[in-house]
């Protein structure tokens, strides 16, 4: 007899969701989180997209500690001097709230508390060392030399999956798997946030930017999200390209973003309240490990379930959906013949049926085009050339758009044939 039906490692969105689902189905679940208080080690941009939480907390949109909801979504290409952007601001978002700005230290603590209220046993401030195996079956976890037993272990330890790696359930990470996320929370006042971003009440703005002005090979995306009275601003830096450059410091890139002429006025006068950094999972479907085995399942970032196409970064929604899928799989296995490799196979099927694995399959190879010269240099430069030609009086007869576009390609520093090919690949994959 095991001590617990399930031990969940990690109290992020994936782990809390799994624990909530299991506990409310009457299972005896232990949730272990290394941070104390829970959430105090977690970092996101953070827009929580979608409504996955509804399955475990039906009224979450009213009760969760969310900052604002997405009323306007911006995309911008930044060159040294310019921001060429597109904004989608819509009253459609009022009725159908697609995304919510969150701060993880608050959100995660709240989610863990919910799991506790629903009956999970929560041990925070404890780091799990390894999954314990006996004859190929996961029988619990090891912590400081002790074995704690459970019928099933759900690993939800996030982007840096040490337990999975140290237990031989995932390969060590490489450049392709990760990006470096660096973030600042900048305090303004609620009024200033509203004025600068043209917002009212709970409305929020979520902007993502391609940082086309960075030196040499360095490639990074930037984000700017409004909270109630603070702004979350940050960058996601490609490890591979930073290495190719080998001259630029990761911590300087966020400052360059915040000092950009189009961004600086938005954060002007604000005081930096917090600096943070966190690993981002980037590997895509090719790097998703074996998701389950005899007595264990892997969920959320620990399984590589996150999605970024350079314009959005999503992971919390996949984390929640996969945590719930893991819990449902276990609940079903327990109703049937118990936990085994076969009975947990339903986990993969559930994920394939949901958007989690569908998205990852559909956007296979996206990293090759989102990280690359075309979006990070050619497009920003070309767009700037066109806009300059159209709007900035240069004392020359106005050119036709077509002519500007051909010139722009030349300006972009990429061969026309390559641009066509890359553009095609990019459109197909996006």
């Amino acid at each position: 007899m095991s001590e617990f039906d399930a031990i969940v490692v990690g109290g992020g969105p994936a782990g809390s969701s799994a624990a909530m689902r299991l506990a409310s189905a009457g299972h005896n679940v232990l949730l272990v989180e290394k941070a104390d208080p829970p959430g105090s080690k977690n970092v996101s941009g953070g827009v929580l997209w979608g409504n996955d939480l509804e399955a475990v907390i039906p009224d979450w949109q009213k009760t969760a500690p969310v900052e604002r909801y997405v009323k306007a979504k911006g995309v911008g290409f930044l060159t040294k001097d310019s921001n060429i952007g597109l904004e989608f601001r819509s009253s459609l978002f009022d009725k159908n709230r697609a995304g919510h700005m969150v701060l993880r230290a608050k959100l995660d603590q709240w989610l863990v508390k919910k799991a506790k209220d629903m009956g999970a046993m929560v041990a925070s401030g404890i780091t799990v060392d390894r999954v314990a195996f006996d004859k190929g079956k996961a029988i619990g976890v090891e912590q400081d030399g002790d074995l704690i037993t459970s019928d099933c272990v759900i690993l939800a330890e996030g982007a840096n999956p040490r337990v999975a790696i140290d237990s031989g359930l995932r390969e060590p990470l490489n450049d392709k798997d990760v990006a470096i996320g660096v973030k600042e929370v900048i305090k303004l006042s609620e009024k200033t946030v509203n004025e600068r971003f043209n917002l009212r009440d709970k409305e929020g703005f979520a902007g993502e930017y391609v940082l086309g002005f960075l030196p040499d090979q360095v490639e990074a995306g930037g984000f700017l999200y409004t909270n109630k009275e603070t702004i979350s601003a940050g960058v996601v830096i490609s490890m591979k390209h930073l290495r190719e450059n080998d001259r630029t410091y990761s911590f300087d890139i966020i400052e360059q973003f915040l000092e950009h002429p189009a961004i600086a006025p938005l954060v002007d006068g604000g005081s930096v309240e917090e600096y943070s950094a966190h690993m981002v999972q980037e590997g895509g479907i090719e790097r998703v490990p074996k998701l389950f085995g005899n007595g264990y399942m892997i969920a959320g970032d620990a399984a590589g379930f996150s999605f970024s196409n350079g314009l959005v970064l999503q992971g919390m929604n996949y984390a929640i959906a996969s945590g719930i899928a893991a819990a449902d799989t276990l609940i079903e296995a327990k109703k049937g013949n118990g936990v085994s490799e076969e009975s947990l196979a339903g986990y993969r099927k559930r994920l394939l049926d949901s958007y989690v694995l569908k998205d990852l399959y559909n956007f296979r190879g996206i990293d090759e085009v989102t990280w690359g010269k075309l979006p990070h240099r050619a497009i920003p430069n070309a767009l700037e050339h066109i806009m300059k030609g159209l709007f900035i009086e240069q004392g020359v007869p106005k050119k036709h758009l077509y002519q500007l576009m051909t010139e722009a390609l030349g300006e972009s520093g990429i061969r026309t044939s390559d641009a066509v090919l890359e553009g095609y690949r990019m459109l197909r994959r996006m």
Partner: protein, 90 residues
Amino acid sequence: MKLEDRLALLNYKIDRTYAHITVKPDICETCPDHFCTFSCPAKCYTLIDGKLNFKYEDCVECGTCVVACAHGSVSWTNSKGAHGVKYKYG
């Protein structure tokens, strides 16, 4: 704002008895790139007189240095429960 000032905003519960990351000085000695000094967002890796200096106290546990070091010098473990960086926003 200088990085040192940004790091000074953070609250850590420093573990005086356990270093969760260690490097192997003999490997760093012959390192051709010192890429860790560029990638670490908390400047835990610095060069002092051409020699690598690593201090874990400022680490924000992003986990990227073990990937950044291509020479197998970095051993990375989780901080022990309730120790290390403690964010208030996240």
